[in-house]
Amino acid sequence: MFGWIGQVLRVDLTKGKISVEKLDSGLAEKFLGARGLASKILYDEVPPQTDALSPKNKLLLFTGALTGTGAISASRYNAVTKSPLTGTIAASNSGGYWGPELKFAGFDGIIVEGASEAPVYLWVEDGHAEIRSAAHLWGKSTHETEDILRGETDPDAKVLSIGPAGEKLVRIACIVNDKNRAAGRSGVGAVMGSKKLKAIVVRGTGGIKVAEMKAFRDTVLDILKNKVKPNATTGVGLPAYGTALLVNVINAHGIFPTFNFRTGIFERANDISGEKLAETFLVRKKACFSCPISCGRATVIPSGKYKSSGEGPEYEAAWALGADCGIYDLAAVTRANHLCNELGLDPISLGSTLACAIELYEKGYLSREQAGMELKWGDGEMLVKATELTARREGLGDLLAEGSYRMASELGHPELSMSTKAQEYPAYDPRGAQGIGLNYATSNRGGCHVRGYMISPEILGSPQKLDPLTTKDKAAWTKTFQDLTAAVDSAGICLFTTFAIGAPELADMLKYATGIDYTVERVLEVGERVWNLERLFNLAAGILADKDTLAPRLLNEPMPEGPAKGLVVKLGEMLPEYYKLRGWSDEGVPLEATLERLGLA
């Protein structure tokens, strides 16, 4: 095969059995890889009602057709499983070096099934794999694990692992690879922990073939020189300030969620901005494999009580650990972010869950005794302590480890959880960007910005500027963004490329890489197919249209200040139109004709 390798590794941890399977080329063509292909396999093999943390759930780590090739920013793999946080299908993607290395080792993906009795890790090297004991690694941070495993295997091996959070089945635990890259959302780390799988170590010296090398090379060169590099976002803004260059932009639009989404303006926003990070702890920019954007931030806090080194914070993390908790101490935010990487926690859900806890505490719904510590807005020390406690499920951390929805429900006030389908929202208040609200409500993995980044047209004006305060045309835009994103994720390239390129460039790269005649229409159709398949999984899991909603605060409490003052999200104006455009019934169920058109019937 071209683009794809053509082999998949299946690992049964219950039986300790490893097998190599051929990749189904028909499925690969229809689903591209990564998020799409792995979702298809999960849908076929795991009944959607399965308990996410039981051995019957499976964890799929899949690359895409373009991963590891010279395509633009083609570093991604997806971790696909049933989520222990949302109960929906989860697909979390990550860059770094691990995904490409898996292909160089001869595999498009790994299907992990069953569960081991004792901690293990998987060692994959050039077409072979073995299960090894990880007894000596249990309890260790992702950074320690990675160093030890490279010592035990190969100095050039790439490591993916969970930290203590995943081991303790924290529902907001992530999978970390290459030390500071993470498949962050939906608690995929807890699934890995439930299987007692500490790490997957990969080393490969093989190559990836593409169908038409010259045309592929020339296409990539053109995209690099004429699209990505000259673009203000991918060529200038992201390299200079990372994603946190958004802090001041989003705050200026009055949609920078502050104090658990009570308002959209944070007075001290600049103190946690990308610009501030560049002045303080930024050492240099860093790229994932083959990426010309290099939004990664290598950061060092040289001294003081938060002394540490690592990467980030990115925009969403700076917001969640910062503004949402009222914290503007950048050293504390940066240290907490480093800890999230080391302990294996999703900083978005962690920050938002802590913000929810602070509000519960303030309102008297969470007592000093239950919390075990004082909770207040703006306390950096509290943040760092809460991060450590959550990863180990100690004290307050045992509450936070469940995510904001379960925690707030347990305390009798689910309305204070800023989440959809139990996953915490990222850093944009939808009252001032209606389209992102529709995306949050309909996202197949709950509250999330990277399923359909409506902020791009609504705030950043790319590919064209929409009025963020109205609902006009938002259903159609959201659908298109969701479909394109699903295709991008399935191909194995980074979503950030879409600031500079769109479906035509993606179709060209796929066409020359695979030798299959992908067009703009076909690429968007793949995305739509993936979206509908995820929807089918969720519906079968019992997550129905009533869950396509938003936290009551966003629907009922008008934004108190700023450009969006007085607004709530008018979800009711957008949702019926969205269902219709998707070819779904009024109950949000894909119609037979839609499934037939997409080859899902």
Binding site: F104, K179, G206, G207, L221, F289, S294
Partner: protein
């Protein structure tokens, strides 16, 4: 004027695109293990540097080769291995101070950077000019300027 590959480690982002395009050009596949250029990435220390043949003025590999298989390409100035003459003893690989020559066991072949016949793919694709293909004398001036800049900054810090 002869051109050389100038390496600017401070501009490298460890994306390893150079390894991809080099292997694609020379082997027809994307395979960093077969690339003539490799990025040494000390991720914990935040130091990344592309490593490639320096095309030395007095190449140790050329001197040590018992088969006389290594010579200088007159057009590009690249130190080149002539496959037909190579006996595969790997003395060049052992003696190179930069580790710039690799042995491919499957093909029983020694490979090194050949400057892509005067159009190096790595320099063309490097997103940040961490690898540049420049006139040899310009390279020296640019390097001096870099060193001077660093010294200037260091002095500034000392004086404060």
């Amino acid at each position: 004027m002869e051109k050389i590959l100038m390496i600017n480690p401070e501009k490298c982002t460890a994306c390893r695109r150079c390894e991809l395009v080099c292997s694609a050009k020379h082997t027809g596949e994307f395979n960093p293990a077969r690339s003539r250029v490799s990025v040494a990435a000390f991720l914990d220390e935040n130091f990344y540097m592309p490593l490639v043949c320096q095309q030395c003025d007095q190449p140790v590999c050329m001197e040590i080769c018992p088969a006389g298989a290594i010579s200088r390409d007159e057009k590009t100035g690249a130190v080149a291995i002539e496959e037909a003459k190579c006996v595969g003893c790997r003395m060049c690989m052992l003696s190179c101070p930069f580790g710039a020559i690799s042995y491919i066991p499957e093909e029983k072949k020694l490979v090194k950077c050949d400057l892509c016949d005067g159009e190096p793919e790595c320099a063309l694709f490097c997103p940040w000019n961490a690898i540049e293909y420049v006139e040899a004398d310009q390279a020296a001036v640019a390097k001096k300027r870099q060193v001077a800049n660093r010294l200037k900054d260091a002095l500034k810090e000392v004086r404060v």
